[in-house]
Subunit: 497 residues, 2 copies
């Protein structure tokens, strides 16, 4: 008998259906909503969020959750109760007034950030960072944490990750990455990239991206690809997964790797067990694990030598003129150019992580009272100098480049690098299980890898927490060694180190 | 003090926000949803409908409505309470089990209709018509009616309209329309239409439609135009109104008048008072009044001689080759060709109404036990012969051509012709208020008419019921005379009668 469990799931399914509606509203907001629709949409979304919150926190839900824990449940059911209780506990602990104040403050802060960034005026933005840090500290106190407040924030995006462990892993890659970037810089090797600055018609770019996504096994009968200023992937259900990208006529690889990246996220969402749709058992583990799926496809596959063996003829067929004087090897080298740069979202797969380490250290310092918001421009520029050897010419493209802090999102950035590390470790496990993986990729046979990911990572849903999943799939805990040896090998060869 | 009123409105606004979400989900279903997303979408929509129903019928809403009626309210507030009470009463009266059975039966019936239609097999569909008529009769009994069950169904789409009055108006146009169609048929005049059968590229068709809609004052910053198999207009808010159309390369006027028609609906939605968004006071009166707005723009304006004075140069500029050997007068005559035909949605503005009269008489007869579903093909064909002088070659393009009955929608069809009649009467009132209306249109100045409609019809929202609105705007009750004199004058001249 599991009638309390059933009661929990009935309420949760309603919340989950409302979530599907909210996901569509969010997607539409970024893709097709007419500009003047924004105010009403905001109100409608707030109503739906309120209804979801009610369902997670109602007396009925709390009572049913308490009773369900005493029932004898199947393992899948236990996963659901564990995760729903986690969501519900968190929602109950954070006072509704705090949620409201946060929503109002971020809503205002985004506007301030946009303007301050345009005007390169960090002092105008600093008090809002202070306010949001203060509010998130209240969240941390309400939710509770073991060692430091930042734990509670990290936990929202990467359940069960701790600041200390994350810092330890990040510490283990900082020096090697800085060293590698320096050696690449002084290698004297510079890939040819002129052919990527030519004109690539957007319709053809779209075709190139769709070709790759289809080959990866992304099901366009159960998904879409649209355009938005900030690319993302969202899911309205297992069979309705939507990717977006952006196009610039002279940046063909931006949209191409953007599509592969989002399709990697999309495969995770399409790979859940439809029988568990709308439940934690059929949902993704964490942002870090999600990012591992996008990065694995974008970098380990899409930026590999093997991939360009398969894809160069496709590229040449779609862009015969642009590809006429270019070799397969040259494209491979160009898409792997390493160069310290100001902007995170444009960074290569090595320096990207130094951008993340910098943000992680700053966020942790803010919540440990090591820095005040007023210190940030100086700290930012110091770390940019130390990690990447460059100094931002202004705060606009320095400390104010990301929207995250104006959203009040602290603890989000680290999941990007965790994703890269998970990805390398998963990929090594896939190579272990499929020794001819690289040959398959070179032949354009990407489905065996998709199926391996599906079986090992997608189908289990939230059965395991991130760290458990890594151990379960790879046989050992998260280690940065796989990522380091992957980039050392790849870039050692590319840059003849 | 109006605290109970405020309580009603707080609950209603939640329902209204959920409605906005459902409208987006419905729009997306017809435009962008990937095919495999349908099942989950259906479930999500059912959840949202259930939540809306809960809000309308909850003890809290019923109590607050009862109390609010005793409060001293402003006129706008009274409109809201009157209409919310109407919705709530109807929702309370119809048993939840009946709603569910209806939803399940129509969901199955649509599939049966699609197949039966493909196979020209009315006997397979007939039992489902019987079932749906039976269920709608239960709805009518639950809701209550004065004279006949059909009143209760009509009332859902055209509040306060009665079968008897509608029949009387329809009776007054039947013979004149049949006579006019016959006289046109034997006039010996046939407009030249060959140039409309040429190839009209779809991008250019889109441009033509958007040109007209913009000129009408449809705000594309607060709306969109997309493609769907069945054109429609939906609103997610006053500033988010979405039109769809369909394109066929050789049917330029289908998409053109489709866009004008939907933009007419769209102007109504964009014309509501934003201060009353999400309340009955800021909503449209009825389907008939809605249709009056689309038909007025489509026919009285878009198919007028004056309109083509303005638009012919636009048409020629967009399609220089196709327009090269065509005169303004010829286009005007071609878009007003009258010809009895099988299919309602392709009918001209005269015969269209005979298609509606036929359906109205059949529906009324079904609910008055005058016909059984098994009689329908014979009755249909008889009436087609009597009204239009043609006999459908099969039931596929006869009695089974419309989706409405498989949806369980009885009482919907009459609103189309009511819309035509309202439109003619409104248009005459606009001419009275703006004696140079036709000259304005000939100069492409469509905003004065848009503003007149806004002031007189859009901004009042649900302040008046349909019949009251007609009296308020035109100074007299609904009369078919305006429509009859409009078509007699226009077609008398076109067909030299």
């Amino acid at each position: 008998m599991s009638k309390h469990y059933e009661r929990v799931m009935a309420i949760y399914r309603e919340a989950s259906d409302l979530h599907g509606a909210a996901a569509l509203m969010g997607w539409d907001q970024e893709t097709y909503m007419p500009p003047r629709g924004a105010a009403t949409r905001g109100r409608q979304l707030a109503t739906i969020s309120g209804l979801i919150h009610e369902r997670l926190t109602s007396d009925e839900m709390r009572g049913a959750l308490g009773e369900a824990r005493t029932e004898s449940l199947a393992p899948d059911q236990e996963v659901n109760i564990r995760e729903i209780a986690r969501d519900s506990d968190r929602a109950v602990k954070i006072p509704v007034t705090l949620v409201k104040t946060l929503a109002e403050t971020t809503s205002a802060a985004i506007g301030v950030w946009i303007k301050a960034r345009q005007e390169n005026d960090f002092p105008a933005f600093a008090p809002w960072v202070a306010r949001l840090v203060g509010l998130q500290r209240e969240v941390a106190e309400a939710v509770g944490y073991e060692d430091e407040p930042y734990d509670a924030l990290l936990d929202e995006y990467e359940p069960a990750a701790t600041t200390k462990e994350t810092a330890a892993v990040f510490d283990s890659i900082r020096a090697p990455l800085v060293d590698l970037v320096q050696r690449i810089g002084s290698s004297g090797v510079a890939p040819r990239t002129d052919f990527l600055e030519r004109s690539y018609p957007i319709d053809d770019q779209r075709r190139m991206g769709v070709t790759a996504a289809e080959r990866m096994g992304f099901d366009f009968e159960a998904g879409r690809l649209d355009i938005s200023p900030h690319p993302f992937c969202t899911h309205l259900g297992v069979h309705d997964v939507r990717l977006t990208t952006r196009y610039s006529e002279t940046l063909p690889m931006q949209s191409f790797y953007g599509v592969i990246h989002e399709a990697g996220h999309g495969l995770y969402e399409q790979g859940h067990d439809p029988a568990h749709e709308g439940t934690p058992r059929g949902a993704s583990v964490s942002l870090g694990i999600h990012e591992s799926q996008s990065r694995l496809w974008e970098n380990m596959v899409g930026r590999s030598r093997a991939f360009w063996r398969y894809f160069f003829p496709e590229f040449s067929a779609i862009f015969p003129d642009n590809a006429a004087d270019v070799s397969e090897e040259e494209v491979y080298a160009a898409v792997n150019e390493v160069k310290p740069s100001l902007i995170r979202v444009e960074a290569d797969e090595i320096t990207y992580n130094l951008h993340i380490l910098l943000r992680f250290e700053i966020e942790r310092g803010l919540f440990a009272d090591e820095y005040t918001p007023g210190d940030l421009p100086a700290v930012w520029n110091e770390k940019m100098k130390a990690f990447l050897g460059i100094t931002p010419p202004d705060d606009k493209d320095g400390v104010m480049q990301d929207i995250h802090w104006s959203h009040g999102s602290f603890g989000y950035f680290p999941t990007y690098t965790l994703g890269n590390l998970y990805a390398a470790q998963f990929y090594r496990a896939a190579e272990r299980d499929m020794p001819d993986l690289s040959d398959q990729i070179a032949r354009g046979e990407l489905l065996p890898l998709r199926d391996w990911l599906r079986d090992n990572i997608h189908l289990p849903g939230m059965t395991y927490r991130a760290s458990e999943l890594v151990e379960h799939v790879t046989g050992e805990p998260l280690s940065a060694d796989y990522f380091l040896s992957y980039i050392r090998e790849k870039y050692g060869s590319l840059y003849r180190l």
